[in-house]
């Protein structure tokens, strides 16, 4: 076996395929990766510290910037955590609208994952297909919150305002088209020989390792554990919906990719049921202008974000601001397996693995 010098290459933080500022230092022998050192913190904005100086309501827009690709999910998690802390009841209609927005965000996030995997593997057209479909979700978000990417439409106690008239037809036509979209992604990318060769058996994450590292979300389900907080510990009104948890057993990149495409369909099913059962009524609970929790109370609330288990831990000292807020960010924990899955692969596998692990740096660096 020919031996060459070991050299380090800095992949990122400014690099086309690092999904917004990941700095991975690859230790390489020729084209073979010996190790990967993940340096986090390039987009650190001290979100948790900011929370301590903002009132509960003021902090809502900051949470949207954690996972900016699935904007409603981190907001939903935070609002539900505060509601749990203060014992606020959310009106029925708001709960349903929240479900629709959350699942649309999940689809938007998965479509970015699909597009980004496409461009990272060189299938440029795949990027455009995903982006084209995601644009429709952005238009729907604009209808509700007035903003496309970071709408902060979900508020403590409900949602910002009632949905406009054009909302339901737009969502309905989007949901109807989801199977067609899945066919297109599969037709362009999944069935391709080169695509399969690039992904199959690449970056295998075993069931045991996934559990040991605390991996959650689609990455865990690709490794063979059908664990989803929407089923395991339903929050909001998720227990009223009928949907499946897609799971695979290989734990390689192709499984992680396929899981995300399948989840588009499951999210579509949930949205359809929510649209069918959407009740009339109020969309926001009557809450006081100044929210204060009792001193010494604390709460941990977790939701199934597009990337995995997103948890908020809030401690109150009786003031109108949290004493301490901690975010359990799924991307941060999922990224820890990057060196594990990359070792022994070639350099191009590192890019594949980053793409299919689908981290979002706004959340992992906070």
């Amino acid at each position: 076996m020919m031996q060459s010098d070991i050299y380090n290459v800095n992949v990122g933080p400014i690099h086309p395929s690092t999904h917004g500022g990941l700095h991975a230092e690859a230790v390489m022998d020729g084209e073979i990766i010996q190790d990967v050192i993940v340096h986090l913190g390039y987009v650190h904005r001290s979100v948790e510290k900011i929370a301590e100086s903002k009132t509960y309501q003021q902090f809502v827009p900051y949470t949207a910037r954690l996972d900016y690709l699935a904007t409603n999910l981190p907001v939903l998690g935070y609002c539900q955590a505060v509601e749990k802390l203060l014992g606020i009841e959310v009106p029925e209609r708001a709960e349903y609208i929240r479900i629709i927005m959350a699942e649309l965000s999940r689809i938007a996030s998965h479509q970015i994952a699909i597009s980004a995997t496409g461009i990272d593997l060189g299938a440029t057209t795949g990027l455009m297909y995903g982006m084209r479909d995601r644009e429709r979700i952005m238009n729907i978000f604009e209808m509700t919150g007035g903003q496309r990417l970071l709408s902060s439409y979900i508020r403590i106690g409900g949602v910002g305002a009632d949905i406009p008239d054009e909302f339901i037809p737009a969502v309905q036509s989007f949901v109807n088209d989801i199977p067609k979209m899945m066919d297109e992604y599969n037709g362009l990318m999944t069935g391709n020989e080169i695509w399969e060769a690039r992904m199959k058996g690449v970056g295998i994450l075993s069931k045991e390792d996934a559990v040991k590292y605390g991996v959650t979300g689609p990455n865990l389900r690709a490794s063979g554990i059908a664990y989803d907080i929407r089923k395991a510990e339903p929050y909001g009104i998720y227990d009223r919906f009928d949907f499946d948890i897609p799971a695979r057993s290989g734990g390689d990149s192709l499984d992680r990719w396929n899981i995300r495409i399948e989840e588009l369909g499951e999210s579509g099913r949930i949205i359809q049921q929510a649209l069918d059962n959407l009740p009339e009524g109020e969309v926001k609970a009557k809450i006081p202008k100044v929210l204060k929790a009792e001193a010494g109370t604390e709460v941990y609330h977790r939701i199934e974000s597009a990337k995995g288990e997103l948890g908020y831990y809030i401690v109150s000292d009786g003031g109108n601001k949290p004493y301490r807020l901690h975010v359990r960010a799924p991307s941060f924990i999922n990224l820890m397996v990057l060196p594990l899955v990359c070792r022994g692969g070639v350099f191009q596998d590192l890019i594949t693995n980053i793409a299919t692990l689908d981290p979002i740096l706004g959340e992992s660096d906070r």
């Binding site: 496409g118 990272d120 060189g122 299938a123 440029t124 990027l127 990318m189 080169i194 350099f347 890019i351």
Partner: protein, 346 residues
């Protein structure tokens, strides 16, 4: 129309002789004129080609593509060229300056040289070389050196990785490329490209040599560093490979040369497999343009559909599939020719 350009050339030579120049000098000047025309055509053609690629890719991806400057955005490329010319020319302080600066020039010169032998119509070529095909293949392989120079001279890890990849890739794919053309040479009995065109009077070689055609197409895609074999560039992995450190016009020269190579390889494909300039009704020089652009569009189509292949798969595909298949094709062609002669058909 058919003899428009050849008549022009004869008239030019005749005029120069009436001015009192000796025939030798008239020939030299004519050669110079041919080169200037070729370089002009390459440059103008690339403006259209880049615009076309952007429009075609936009069509595949359901976008609009360039649409601001001029009708259908046709002047976009010119605006880009002006931008590139006015950009700062950065030479990294750690670079090997001589090699760094000569690499793009070397690349474009080698690419332009390819046009020497391509028959652009009946009796239309710069030099009618009797080893034209061999010249084309040898010139094509020289571009590897330019990429290696760029990668080494930049003193950048990405550049070097891209350069090493390109050397490995090009050496591996030159062999099936040359082997696939060998079948055609065996049938036509000549390395002269005009003779090869003439041999396709009755039937195109794409019908006689379908395996060679496919092998050539795949190997040529790899030779051109185009997707799905654009490993040396690989902007998603190597951030631009050998071109990482290049800016402004130096980078544009690489870009220019890649498109120049694309046209040359497509023109050779049209010449060798698709009957060259032969065709009914239209003049011969128009036929070769039509055929070349047809091949180019297929290259575009492939690039904008497939994901990038992995380096080790790329190498094993060449050595384990393409080389044996092209060798088998040579064997098959030999057997076919022997059978044909034995039966007395040819």
């Amino acid at each position: 129309m058919e003899h428009l350009f050849t008549n022009l050339a004869t008239a030019l030579t005749g005029w120069m002789i009436t001015l009192g120049l000796s025939p030798v000098w008239a020939d030299v000047i004519l050669l110079l004129v041919k080169w200037i025309i070729i370089i002009t055509i390459i440059t103008l053609n690339i403006i259209i080609l880049i615009w076309l690629e952007r429009k075609v890719s936009a069509f595949f991806q359901e976008r609009l593509g360039p649409n601001r400057l001029g009708p259908f955005g046709i002047f976009q490329t010119i605006a880009d060229a002006i931008k590139l010319l006015t950009k700062e020319d950065i030479v990294p302080s750690a670079a090997d300056k001589l090699i760094f600066k000569t690499a793009p020039m070397f690349f474009i010169v080698v690419a332009v040289m390819l046009y020497t032998v391509i028959p652009m119509g009946q009796g239309m070529e710069v030099i009618n070389l009797n080893i034209g095909l061999l010249f084309f293949i040898s010139m094509g392989s020289l571009s590897t050196i330019a990429l290696l120079m760029a990668g080494w001279g930049s003193d950048n890890k990405w550049s070097l990785m891209g350069a090493v990849r390109s050397v490995a890739q090009m050496i591996s794919y030159e062999i099936p490329l040359a082997f696939s053309l060998l079948g055609v040479v065996m049938i036509s009995g000549s390395l002269n490209l005009q003779d090869i065109v003439a041999a396709q009077d009755n039937i195109w070689f794409v019908i006689l040599q379908p395996i060679a055609f496919l092998t050539y197409f795949i190997a040529a895609t790899a030779e051109l560093n185009r997707g799905p074999f654009d490993m040396p560039e690989a902007e998603q992995e190597l951030t631009g490979g050998a071109y990482t450190e290049y800016t402004g016009m130096r980078w544009a020269l690489f870009f220019l040369a890649e498109y120049t190579n694309l046209v040359a390889v497509s023109a050779l494909m049209a010449t060798v497999f698709l009957g060259g300039w032969q065709g009914p009704w239209l003049p011969s020089w128009l036929w070769i343009i039509i055929k070349t652009y047809g091949v180019i569009l297929v290259f575009f189509w492939v690039k904008w559909t497939f994901p990038r292949i992995r380096m080790d798969h790329l190498m094993s595909f060449s050595w384990k599939v393409l080389v044996p298949v092209s060798l088998g094709n040579i064997l098959l062609t030999g057997a076919g020719i022997y059978f044909c002669q034995w039966m007395g058909w040819c």
